[in-house]
């Protein structure tokens, strides 16, 4: 009885997650689908191909990818030292540092976007890729710092001391000991940063001033346009990279579970 119950619940959960995806696929690849029919009667990929070959979609995809990757790398570079100190050290003002670093997660993105827009207009960063990347760092950094600080709170510095006294330099210790030990959390943090930047709409809209057209911008304008086929196709394109990234790292994440539990 219990088994059946679990199975039904699990199945329901899968449906909830998978149903929108199925709907997107149905819309994107069908030509005729009228109300009483449970499935589309005719299938085609012509709409999909024509959307993909649209130069705006292509450049949106490219810009989104490039921005998300740069933002991920920068978040790691900036967040790593902060997370290490917050996770490993006790110091005066540590709580305040936490609070400040976490402000972006509680302050509405609209407020951040408006404020940044005014600031960036003054210093000439509005409408530029640099501006958009900096704006994206605001929501990504707290998650990167939070994930890595958690890893560092469970971290044992004696591994590094061990490496040092065995003759390895600071730099070598960082690359051969610290990074492998922290790797699983590093992957998770990068994922977070990538996905948050990838799905960023509001900040891109404000700071990009309509000149930086990423995929979410296209998707939102299509959504307000109301053509379900275009929305479905763009959504599928939008979904692909994050799903691929997660699928590629899932195995590694599972394999590495033991690493942090010394």
């Amino acid at each position: 009885m219990n088994k059946i119950y679990t199975f039904v619940l699990r199945f329901a959960l899968y449906i909830i997650f998978a149903a929108p995806l199925a709907l997107f696929i149905a819309y994107a690849f069908s030509t005729r689908w009228f109300f009483p029919q449970p499935f589309p009667s005719e299938w085609t990929n012509s709409a999909f191909i024509s959307t993909l070959s649209d130069s705006r979609v292509f450049s949106g995809l490219r810009d989104s990818l490039v921005i998300a990757m740069i933002v991920s790398l920068l978040s790691l570079a900036l967040g790593f030292p902060a997370a290490r100190v917050l996770g490993l050290r006790q110091f005066r003002g540590r709580q305040i540092a936490w609070l400040i670093l976490f402000l972006p997660t509680v302050v509405p993105p609209l407020a951040i976007g408006m404020g940044l827009n005014i600031l960036f207009l003054q210093i000439g960063l509005a409408g530029s890729y640099v501006g958009v990347v900096i704006a994206h760092l605001i929501p990504t950094l707290p998650y990167v710092i939070f994930t890595l600080a958690g890893a560092y709170a469970r971290y044992d510095e004696n591994f590094e001391f061990q490496s040092l006294v065995l003759g390895a330099s600071q730099a070598r210790t960082f690359f051969t000991v610290t990074l492998p030990l922290i790797a699983p959390s590093l992957v998770v943090a990068t994922l977070f940063a990538f996905i948050i930047s990838w799905s960023q709409y509001l900040l891109t809209l404000f700071i990009g001033s309509g000149r930086i057209i990423t995929l979410p911008i296209l998707l939102f304008s299509a959504a307000s346009g109301g053509n379900p086929v275009t929305i479905a196709i763009l959504s599928l394109i939008f979904l692909a990279p994050p799903v691929l990234v997660i699928a590629a790292t899932a195995r590694q994440l599972n394999n590495n579970e033991g690493r942090e539990q010394y």
């Binding site: 591994f159 001391f161 061990q162 040092l164 003759g167 390895a168 330099s169 030990l181 033991g258 010394y262």
Partner: protein, 337 residues
Amino acid sequence: MTKVNLISLQKTYHGQPDLVLKNFSLSVDDGEMVALLGPSGSGKSTLLKLITGIEHPDSGDIQFDGSSIVNVDPNKRGAVLMFQKSYLFPFLNVEDNIGFGLKVQGASSQTICAEVKRMLDLIGLPGIEKRNPGQLSGGEGQRVALARALVTNPKLLLLDEPLSSLDTSVRINLQEAIRKIQHELGVTTIFVTHDLGEAMAMSDRMALLLDGEIVAVDKPDALFHHPRSVAAAKFMGVSTFLNGDQLKVQNEAGCSSEKIFAIRPEHIRVQKDGCENSMPGVVSGCVFRGEYVEYQVTACEITVRARMPMPAPMFLNGERVFVKFPQEHLFEVNSAR
């Protein structure tokens, strides 16, 4: 190999007023094994961190073979440290763990392979090169950690309670193994522990540490039989101290009230009848420990702990007895540190 001189080391930690080490001086001879014995918080681990260079002393000097190494980076000092946990790198197998130090030095892979094999034979675990640290028992892990520390031929080996997380049987086994390997390689070693038995079994000399200061340094047997001060005697398991006044009760000869005498618990006798050199008391505790019985007797406002070897007369709590302090086992100690 290396003679180590620690000269007037002082250390405070940021934000804490107390000195962790106070004017700490100690010299360790070439190939000698010195045990640092002290309770937790006595500054033992801090001292090892200063020697490896993980921490820096506020003042004082550390010399290897007469030259100061205080300003040398930890990775260039040649002082390796082994902790209570093995800290084997979990992402490397046993071979790569042991070979870590050699690889850092740029040794060829053939050299590393041969050296790893030699070390594994030395620690008595041949053929485990390809195992992962997770597959090793606690004792095996510590042996591999020892091999990793020794493979680079260090100037100085520092052991920070390397055995205290192990079971008793494994621990005794490893005590002997470490001592044997240390002798064989002749590596100068400083060994930190809070276990008296371990310190005595493994070291050439023992340094007793209390609140960042050395209480006494000597050979284990000398310290055991003749600790010079109250503090040192306490370290060595003595808990009964009597001043001249208390002893006058039983012995008129040569006792001034300022002098303090100590006696080891195994030399105190608890008996039914009074005799010369004994004082009356009441049994306030009795623990059977197999090889001996431990009695607590309250006599003359002090609590005397005595260890009577089996077979011993059995007394019950509250029973009136006499404790005897045989004259030949009483020794004088300083009240100062």
